[in-house]
């Protein structure tokens, strides 16, 4: 769940096999589920890089995508690989490879957020990813509010909504606005995460900047710190402290009640406290490497991820929401997951040139407080 958590980087890597034409017979023509027609000339391998939890186990999103895509494309093998850049973000390994001129051994990257996309472009002069939007039949289905990349490289395939989760059995009145959180009645009640290392932490910080403006957010956080907000390292650490009753509010996901319902817990303990009826959308995107040997196959895989068939199943397996207007939820997910009335997020252009400084200034403020 914690996209940029260093813990999650727990990846050994998968195949190092090079994508591309490996020769061999069995020429077939297939029509992929996505509707794009592609001709295969022999067995081909598509190497897809992602984060570990996306591919862990037979019930994972990755396992479903591999099985379905291979079934729809004769002779194609999908190999997942989970890089570890020795730091919080798996994409760092590819940025470092590009900088050093080392080989990029994957065709596609699954699991980028907007901030990472900005960082890639700040770090590298040559493009790491190819523009693919025009080649995809389902790109137009992506929800307007989630479209983050103006250059048409990274396409969102699912999204989470970040919001405080509140224990309504402890709090008599739950706060409903950012300013409510400054009320002395809630002193020491909020657990947040480090925006430098945690996705939820970064999303909550960006949300506060969205609300208070780049000139006002540090003042807001100074007040929040004075009111005893705790900034823990990871979402796991914060959520653990929350479930142990250390504080009655934690920055988390809007899917909290799904887990609670699945385990027969009291839903009142997991009240979704959307502030100002908002929630911060953190879309996860995928993009095709410029260096890919099989760009068409990679684009076709990306298109498949955006198809209604995949959107009805895969985001939910990842405990996220569909990114397209065609996808839907089912089961407890449809029943207990909630979307904010007014989802907000920063676009690529808004983050470019700003996000690093925003986070650093914030981190220095917290560490000195």
């Amino acid at each position: 769940m914690e996209r940029r958590d260093y813990l999650r980087a727990a990846g050994a890597t998968g195949a190092l096999g090079l994508a591309g034409c490996l020769g061999g017979g069995g020429d077939t023509e297939t029509t992929s589920t996505s509707g794009t027609t592609g001709t295969t000339s022999g067995d081909r391998t598509l190497t897809v890089a992602t984060y570990q939890s996306y591919v862990d186990g037979e019930d994972s999103p990755g396992a479903w995508l591999k099985e379905e895509f291979e079934a729809a494309n004769d002779g194609v093998t999908v190999e997942w690989t989970t890089p570890s850049g020795g730091s919080s973000s798996g994409i760092n390994e590819y940025i470092q490879r590009a900088k050093q001129g080392a080989e990029i051994d994957a065709d596609l990257y699954v699991g980028l957020n907007t901030g990472e996309l900005v960082r890639i472009d700040e770090e590298l002069d040559d493009p790491l990813f190819a523009t693919v939007t025009d080649a995809l039949s389902h790109a137009g289905d992506v929800k307007e509010a989630l479209t983050v990349d103006p250059d048409g490289r990274a396409l969102p395939y699912d999204t989470g909504y970040i919001t405080p989760v509140m224990d309504a059995t402890v709090l008599d009145d739950v706060p409903t606005t950012f300013d409510d959180l400054l009320d002395p009645a809630y002193e020491g009640d909020l657990l947040a995460e480090n925006a430098q290392s945690s996705d939820t932490g970064e999303a909550f910080l960006l949300w506060s900047i969205h609300e208070k403006g780049p000139d006002g957010y540090l003042d807001y956080w100074r007040d929040l710190l004075d009111n005893g907000v705790r900034v823990l390292d990871t979402w796991q650490a914060a959520y653990n402290a929350y479930t142990k009753g250390e504080a009655p509010m934690v920055v988390s996901y809007s899917t909290a009640q799904v887990y609670a319902a699945n385990n027969g817990e009291d839903l009142e303990k997991y009240h979704l406290g959307f502030l100002d009826e908002q929630g911060y959308a953190n879309p996860e995107t995928a993009a095709v490497f410029e260096a890919s040997d099989a760009p068409d196959l990679a684009a076709s895989f990306l298109d498949f991820m955006l198809s209604a068939d995949a959107q009805n199943v895969v985001p939910q397996k990842n405990y996220q929401y569909p990114a397209t207007t065609t996808g839907s939820l089912s089961g407890n997910f449809a029943k207990y997951a909630q979307e904010p009335a007014d989802p907000v997020t920063f676009t690529y252009d808004e983050l470019a040139g700003n996000v690093t400084g925003w986070i650093e200034d914030w981190a220095r403020l917290v560490a000195q407080h």
Binding site: M1, E2, R4, D5, Y6, L7, A10, G11, A12, T13, G14, L16, S53, V55, D56, G57, E58, S60, T82, S84, G85, G86, S87, S88, S89, N92, Q96, Q100, A102, E123, N194, Q196, S197, L225, V231, L232, D233, T234, Q236, A237, Y239, N240, A241, K244, G245, E246, V258, Y259, N262, N263, G264, K317, N318, Y319, T356, A363, V366, A367, Q368, H369
Partner: protein
């Protein structure tokens, strides 16, 4: 010199004995220097070169050699507080001091480094306060299970920070077990997210270091010297102060040094329990590395390393305390008996250990048996499903890999550590500088080491038209050994300094080669240190995470901590830490059993 004698003997011995003799002859030819050079070769490949390439970026700016990045870091008040101001503007310092006095001595800003050092001093002090009584109890008293307890002291070392955080929150939290007990007498402590809680967690990790090092040294104290002092009329405290303490001091100081270094570079546990307000230097290095601002991260890492290596150098001046070789071990007295000051101390220590160690560990085990607030076997059912399913992370594979890597790491770290201890075991500034530099694997930021391994070993280098990359299990074992050998060095070196060289020389004149003299005479004396060092090397390997995931380029080479982290982030598990706690319990059980077995084996070899 000894060749002729060896040859005549060989005819009389069995073929097996002949093989052993040839082994010694080979060892004599290779010698300590050969082993040392082999050790250096391993270190260059899996440590100095990879780490050096990253640290070097601290000394470059726009491709040119420059001290500007380091200077920028040193003069940033965020990092160095008032010291940064004084460095940036030395001329303005006197006026600043006057202003400070006039203002009535307000709190001085110490910056990230000052705070980190402060936290490390607190953590080290607490580790000594808890660790030394533990060493006293284990060295002085005989009781059933003493050996087992001694073996288990190293166990906390292997636990991932998030599991320790779970245990500590459950034990010491607002509605934790401790408050439940205190509540019976109307007391309540609120330590959540506070400095005391973080210091307690650092103590949990590091007090065993003090205990284990001092016990290993105490096992080599010469009982006859103590008896002599006592027969000459010295009271017991005096015999301890004059005879025993000087022999324990080097090992004690070694432990204090290592604890300080670990606390100084503490990272995940501080943030998991205390939060970003208590951020340390290593936390900042991690964040900068995540942003790929490697130059600034390297600057911080260089300064961090400079501080820890300087302390190591200072310590090495005191390591070489001469003493008598052990002839007789001090007899331990029964723990159960009429109350004495010592036995009361032991009882008090048992209470502290119960609260600080048994409490959090039991809490973690309890967490593994809980789901959504109720007792449940769901977490172990999850482990079983992972074991039986396909494409998942199987607990038994994690156990097997962990034990394989740890066995390999110990097998490599012990000769590496002993050869380094033997070569650097001499007086002189050069030996001390070398000795300090060879401790670098502990003194360099783990985050930076991970990046170095990735860029140099995984991406590979082009050499003479060949593309060389070093990954997979062998690289993991080597990296683990590099992390572990400093413990062997620091455990063995103080004992080696006291080893009786006359005896080894006598063995040599009687015809034993240097290898044989080392094995038969020197090694038995330093054996307790070797066993203690091996236990730490084992623990370091089992608990290691960063290098393992960077170097394992195959998804099958996951270890127990890696499996634990995978369960932690598995979306189907959701916010529940139970499955990770279940794996943590497996980790705990497997390591505890391993330590008992390893030390039994080592104990048989100990004289």
């Amino acid at each position: 010199m000894d060749r002729g004698l060896g040859a005549t003997r060989r005819t009389a011995l069995s073929r097996l004995g002949g093989a052993a003799e040839r082994g010694y002859a080979l060892a004599d030819r290779i010698g300590a220097h050969g082993a040392f050079l082999a050790t250096l070769a391993v270190l260059v490949v899996v440590f100095y070169y990879p780490v050096g390439t990253v640290l070097f970026t601290a000394f470059t700016e726009s491709g040119r050699v420059s001290l500007a990045p380091l200077w920028a870091t040193l003069t940033d008040p965020f990092y160095f507080g008032v010291l940064a101001g004084a460095l940036a503007d030395p001329a303005g310092a006197p006026a600043a001091v006057r202003g400070w006095i006039d203002a009535g001595f307000p709190a001085v800003r110490t910056g990230l480094f000052g705070w980190t050092a402060y936290l490390a001093v607190l953590g080290t002090g607490a580790a000594v306060l808890v660790g030394l009584p533990g060493a006293y109890v284990l060295a002085r008293y005989e009781f059933p299970g003493r050996e087992t307890v001694r073996s288990l002291t190293v166990v906390p070392f292997v636990l991932p920070a998030i599991m320790v955080a779970v245990g500590f929150t459950t034990m010491f939290g607002t509605s934790g077990a401790l408050n439940d007990v205190l509540g019976l007498v109307g007391l309540h402590v609120n330590v959540a997210f506070s400095v005391p809680l973080v210091v307690a967690a650092l103590t949990f990790y590091n007090a065993p270091l003090v205990t284990r090092f001092v016990v290993a040294a105490a096992d080599t104290v010469d009982a006859r010297a103590v008896e002599t002092a006592r027969t000459l009329g010295a009271p017991r405290w005096r015999a301890f102060r004059d005879v025993v303490a000087p022999q324990l001091l080097p090992s004690f100081l070694a432990a204090v040094l290592l604890v300080f270094v670990f606390d100084f570079m503490a990272f995940p546990i501080v943030l998991a329990l205390g939060g970003l307000r208590l951020a340390t230097v290593e936390v900042w290095i991690y964040s900068l590395a995540g942003d790929l601002r490697l130059g600034e991260a390297a600057s911080l890492a260089v300064l961090e390393t400079a501080i820890t290596l300087a302390l190591t150098y200072a310590y090495l001046r005191y390591e070489r305390t001469e003493g008598a070789a052990r002839a007789a071990r001090i007899e331990r007295v029964p723990l159960v008996g009429p109350p004495t000051a010592g036995r009361l101390l032991a009882a008090g220590y048992a209470l502290v250990a119960l609260v600080l160690y048994v409490g959090p560990l039991a809490s973690m085990v309890l967490e593994s048996l809980t789901r959504g607030g109720h007792l449940s076997a769901a977490n172990y059912a999850f482990l079983l499903a992972q074991q039986l399913g396909t494409g998942g992370t199987q607990p038994t594979v994690a156990v097997r890999n962990s034990l394989l890597f740890a066995a390999g790491a110990v097998a490599l770290a012990v000769p590496m550590g002993v050869s380094i201890a033997a070569i650097t075991n001499r007086d002189g500034r050069l030996a001390r500088v070398g000795g300090a530099l060879l401790m670098a694997p502990l003194a360099v930021s783990g985050v930076v080491t991970g990046i170095g391994l990735l860029q140099a070993l995984v991406f590979g280098v082009d050499l003479f038209g060949w593309h060389l990359a070093v990954t997979g299990p062998v690289a993991i074992v080597a990296a683990h050994a590099v992390g572990g050998y400093p413990f062997v060095v620091r455990n063995v070196a103080p004992l080696l300094a006291r080893a009786n060289r006359d005896l080894a020389a006598a063995a040599r004149t009687l015809g034993a080669g240097p290898a044989r003299a080392f094995r038969d005479v020197t090694l038995p004396f330093v054996a307790p240190g070797v066993v203690a060092g091996a236990a730490f090397a084992f623990a370091i390997s089992v608990g290691e995470f960063n290098a393992t995931i960077v170097l394992a380029r195959d998804p099958g080479w996951y270890t127990m901590p890696v499996a634990l982290e995978r369960y932690l982030s598995n979306p189907s598990v959701g916010p529940y830490l139970g499955p990770a706690a279940a794996m943590g319990t497996v980790l705990l059980a497997v390591t505890a059993a391993s330590f008992v077995v390893v030390e039994r084996l080592g104990g048989r070899w100990e004289p």
